[in-house]
Subunit: 269 residues, 2 copies
DNA sequence: ACGTCTCTGG
DNA sequence: CCAGAGACGT
C-alpha cells in the first residue's frame, strides 16, 4: 500500500507542468523515504531528477517499494481537474495497475477521485556522481526565467560565465548580440530570495542551448531561487528546491565547441 | 411594429454566444408577452428553449406577432460590435425583412445601428410536456461548468446520479476514470448562489454525452445557478434562469444503454 | 511548442 | 486598474 497526502496540491500541479514538456513519461519510484523520478528528456539531451521526501507530505506511507510508470500528459490532464488549493491524496496498491488521486476542496463539499492507468516504461536509472562544482550560482528564479526568455529572442545558445563579481549571460544571433550581467548581491536589506551569490572555485564559462534552459524555467514558480552548478565540460545542474520536501534538478551538457576564455565572445557556429 | 430596449446589452451578447455553437439558425418569435426561441441543435440531438419576457426589457412593444428567422452566426457577428455595457434596441416591422439593432454606449456619445437580414427557416415547434421530475438538482453554474470541462478531458460521456446526499458525476476513458461528488450543501453561512440542493422523488442515474453538457455550460455566465431536472429515460433539462426576464433551457436525451442501478460503475463501452 | 487572449488575484 | 497565470487556437 502506498498513500501520500499533500495539502498543497498546487505544488504537484506545478511540478508536472514544469516537467511534462521535457519528459513524456517516467517511472515514479515510491519508497519509504519518499517519491523520486529520474528521466531523460525526449531528445535524450537532458536529465530530470525529482525528489520528494515522505516527511514533506501530511501523510506518507509506503509499505513496499513501487514503480509507478506514468505518462505525464495524462497525469497533467488529471491534475488540471484539481484546484490549486485542493488537498491531493495519491494511492496505489503494492502491485498497482493504476494510481488513484483524490482531490478535496477544503472549502466546498466537493470530492473528486481519479484513477490513472499505469504503464510499463523502460527506465534507465543513471547514477549521477556527486561532484564538487567550480562555480555555484544562486539567483532569484524569476530572474533566471526572465533572462532565458529574453535571450532566446536573440540567439539559440547562451554562454554563462561565472566570476567572483557575478554571472554573465551572453548570446548572439542574426539580430545582434546580448549580454546580461547579474552582480553578486547579498546586501543585508535584500530579502534572501532576492539575493544573487556566486560561490567560486575557479571561473567557468559554458555554453548551453537556450531551448532547454527555457524549459527548466517553467519550474520557477516552485522556488524563489534557482541554483546553477557548473564545472568545465560537465553538465550544468539547474536546481529548484521544493521547500521542506526535496528538489527538482535538471542536468544539461554544455556545447562542446565552447570558447574557453572569459571574454566577450560567444561561440558562433 | 416590434421594438425592445435592453439596458443590459451584455446579456444578449452572452445569450447568443451560449447558443450559437449548438444552433446555427432559429426563429425568434416575438409576441406581446416577449421573445422566445426554440430550436434543435444541428445534429438534432438536443433542444434549446429561450424565453425572455417583455416586462424584463426597459421598453417592450409588439403590435403583431412576428417571426424573426435569424442565422445566429451573423447575429453573433453584429453583437460583437456592441459593448458589454451598451444599451441594445431591437426593432422590426410587422412584416419584416430585417431586424434592426441599435447599440448605445451610455457613457460616451456613441451610437451604432446595424440591420440583419432575416431568413425563412423551417421551424418545428415542439410541445414540451410539463413533467414531474424524479430529481431536481440546483448547483452553482460555475461548478457545473467546471465539472463538465474537467470530465471531458477523461471521457466522452458522464453518468449523473442524484441521491439525497448529493450528485455524483462519473466518467471513464482510455486514461482512467473519474468521479466528482458534490454534496447537498445548504449551510446557512453559504451564499444562496453557492448552495447545492437535490430535490428528490426517487434516485436517478442517467448518462449523457459530455460534449453537449459542455456546450450548455457556456450559459453559465448568465446565471449563478443551474438546475438539472432528471427522470429515468427522459431528457435532462439544464436550465439557467435569466433574472427578472426568463430562462434558457437545454434538453438532452440520455444515452439509452444506461446502467440502471446507482452503483459506482460507469458504463464502459 | 509558441503566442494570443481571457480570467483571476493583488 | 494593472499584472500574472491559465486556457485556447494556430
Amino acid at each position: 500500500m502506498f498513500e501520500a497526502r499533500l495539502t498543497q496540491g498546487g505544488l504537484l500541479k506545478k511540478l508536472v507542468e514544469a516537467v511534462k514538456d521535457l519528459v513524456t513519461d517516467g517511472n515514479f519510484e515510491a519508497t519509504e523515504a519518499g517519491i523520486s523520478l529520474q528521466a531523460m528528456d525526449t531528445s535524450h539531451v537532458c536529465l530530470v531528477a525529482l525528489q520528494l521526501r515522505g516527511d514533506g507530505f501530511e501523510n506518507f506511507r509506503c509499505d513496499r517499494n513501487v514503480t509507478l510508470g506514468i505518462q505525464l500528459a495524462n497525469l497533467s490532464k488529471l491534475l488540471k481537474c484539481a484546484g490549486n488549493d485542493d488537498i491531493i491524496t495519491l494511492k496505489a496498491d503494492d502491485q498497482p495497475d493504476v494510481i488513484t488521486m483524490t482531490f478535496e476542496d477544503p472549502k466546498t463539499e466537493r470530492f473528486a477521485d481519479f484513477s490513472l492507468k499505469l504503464m510499463d516504461i523502460d527506465s534507465e536509472h543513471l547514477g549521477i556522481p556527486e561532484t564538487e562544482y567550480s562555480a555555484t550560482i544562486r539567483m532569484p528564479s524569476a530572474e533566471y526565467a526572465r533572462i532565458c526568455k529574453d535571450l532566446s529572442s536573440i540567439g539559440e545558445t547562451v554562454a554563462i560565465s561565472a566570476t567572483k563579481e557575478g554571472v554573465k549571460f551572453s548570446t548572439s544571433g542574426d539580430v545582434g548580440t546580448a549580454n546580461i550581467t547579474v552582480r553578486s548581491n547579498t546586501a543585508a536589506d535584500l530579502k534572501p530570495e532576492q539575493q544573487t551569490t556566486v560561490e567560486l572555485g575557479e571561473p567557468v564559462a559554458l555554453t548551453f542551448a537556450l531551448r532547454y534552459l527555457n524549459s527548466f524555467a517553467k519550474a520557477a514558480s516552485l522556488a524563489s531561487q534557482v541554483q546553477l552548478s557548473m564545472t568545465k565540460d560537465l553538465p550544468v545542474v539547474v536546481e529548484f528546491t521544493i521547500s521542506d520536501m526535496g528538489h527538482l534538478k535538471f542536468y544539461l551538457a554544455p556545447k562542446i565547441d565552447e570558447d574557453e576564455d572569459m571574454g566577450d565572445e560567444v561561440g558562433e557556429s
